[in-house]
Symmetry: C2
Subunit: 347 residues, 2 copies
């Protein structure tokens, strides 16, 4: 057993701040679950912060090489977001023998094979529960809770912005433009909402989930993707009253005889289906296991503390393995590369 695990927090924005807060508030619990104290040795941010905010004993730097080059650091928690310098830092950290926790969907979507190829070669772990589904422990369910299953279908409401807009349109008869405006006001939509509205965010998350199930990387380029911006004139009332259904932006991955098919598009969901009551900014994912049948997970897909909760559960799971000396013994826990995925065209 290691007597202490040392981590570096890279990024001190919304999720970085939340993660540091949880690490402090749950200090005793984290230590008992890991089996050793977890020390935040470094904080990487753009500007140095007051020590009162960061805590005594935490070193600060604005240069990521400082944390990658510190041989005492066991694990880097990457929360800076975006593709660069996140990618270079992760790659150099793996080369330097460090494990990774990340919440960064963008860097995984673009550099999956490079990152996991390197992680497997070096027997390092890369955990990313927060990158898909925020506070919903979906990666843990795929990797462990449903480990006794083959997952051949995944369907989910993976984007909170579009789900919020659709819920307001349907429940309050709002036109699309008004619902979008309200989503912005409530903090659920960006100034430029294209990434969410057009289904790109959902497609990136789906590609990550499908890759976990398939055991090989399926890029978001293979996702047939249609957003909700063409629903402007859809008669939501007719859909509800006559078809007894609601419209949801579903992300669906299926293993068929032809191979995996991945798609994101607005879908009619019967009112009695569990997805129909996934409202506002909530997310849900349904996994179809050959033994367990349909298992659905539901919760907050974004936000400071839900995302930080996922980061912290990764930190705990990883640091326990670091503490007991088994981290990286089995490469499978990130993405088992034992099958070749055939990716079918959606038509």
């Amino acid at each position: 057993m290691k007597s202490k695990v040392r981590i570096a927090l890279a990024g001190f924005g919304v999720v970085g701040g939340g993660t540091l807060q949880l690490l402090r508030e749950h200090k005793a619990d984290v230590e008992s679950r890991v089996g050793a104290p977890v020390e935040v040795k470094w904080l990487l941010s753009r500007k140095k912060k007051p020590a009162s905010l960061v805590g005594a004993g935490v070193r600060q730097t604005t240069n990521w090489r400082d944390i990658v080059n510190d041989p005492e650091v066991d694990c880097i928690v990457e929360l800076i977001g975006g593709t660069e310098p996140a990618r270079t830092m992760i790659v150099e950290a793996l080369r330097a023998g460090k494990h990774i926790v990340t919440a960064n969907k963008a860097v995984l979507s673009k550099h999956w094979n490079e990152i996991f190829g390197l992680a497997q070669a070096r027997h390092k772990l890369v955990y990313f529960e927060a990158a898909v589904g925020g506070g919903v422990p979906i990666g843990q369910a795929l990797n462990e809770g449903l480990a006794g299953n083959r997952i051949r279908k995944i369907a989910g409401i993976l984007n909170g912005t579009t789900n919020y807009i659709l819920t307001r349109m349907q429940e309050e008869d709002l036109p699309y433009a008004t619902a979008l405006k309200e989503a912005r006001k409530a903090g659920f939509a960006e100034a430029d909402p294209t990434f969410d509205i057009e289904g790109i965010d959902a497609a990136q998350k789906l590609s990550i989930l499908a890759s976990l199930a398939a055991g090989v990387w399926i890029s978001p380029e293979h996702v047939h993707c249609e957003g909700i911006s063409r629903l402007h004139d859809t008669d939501m009332r007719l859909i509800q009253d006559r078809l007894r259904s609601v419209v949801k932006l579903l992300a669906i991955a299926e293993s068929t005889e032809k191979g995996w098919i991945l798609r994101v598009h607005p879908t009619l969901v019967p009112r009695k289906h569990p997805f129909a009551n996934v409202r506002n900014e909530f997310n849900a994912v349904s996994l179809h296991g050959n033994a367990a049948g349909d298992v659905m997970l539901y919760g907050k897909g974004a936000g400071r503390l839900p995302t930080s909760s996922a980061v912290l559960s990764d930190i705990i799971f990883l640091c326990r393995q670091i503490a007991n000396g088994t981290a990286g013994e089995l490469p499978y826990v990130t993405c088992p590369p034992h099958r070749k995925a055939i990716i079918a065209r959606f038509d």
Copy 2:
């Protein structure tokens, strides 16, 4: 690393047969997830079975002492059900240095403190994912996926029989007696349904979940329990149309200022709440984490393969730790005894 993990299957009924089937079908996958082959060395059953059914190389016995006394056995998978001889076998197995996987809610409800006290003293693990929620990976979520949270409220639809009856009463306007008869026909109710109907089954499951969250055993005796048999004359249509709600038998555990309060009773659930669309024999559990917020898990709470799926995920998680030599290093993963639960009266 151990080159092989040897388990004994105790019990060859519905779940025992399902577990053996899954272990065989997923052999390569199990081995890659565990990091070593998992060999079923023994099968304990009331009568010896044909070798064609059991598989070559599996020894059979009708005496549980044979598997407890075999020093090669690392883990006993207890699927015989009931309190005896299950309790004695588990206790003797722990004393003999074996880890346990069990699907047996009854034995845990009655002998929790004895079993986990012994497990902790001997640094052995007792996993029981299948004992609550069947195929729904709720224990894994509580222990790992939401490890970065304090769970202060649990609410769930934990009994498939009553949920099936209530769904049929509400959706098809059936009287209670007819719905119960149909539940029997569909295989979702026993000849004597008291255990399910009166909420005792849900209370036992709730006490297990609350104990995991509280970190100390809260016996089902502390659960205020009211079943659905007094709903005979309830006007379901009025509840649906005028109150826009459905009736669900909810099991609720809350940590309050006075202590934990546990209760099972019929509850009005608004039609737009995620619980409202948990229909027929399905189960759902909502966990309120201080960071993640409300996280719900949904799936099949019973049945041969869903239950076997949960048993197999426990086997994989446990055998990996046996293979890499860390099983039992941390006692917390079963029930962390670091807090004293104060159990409030429900009034």
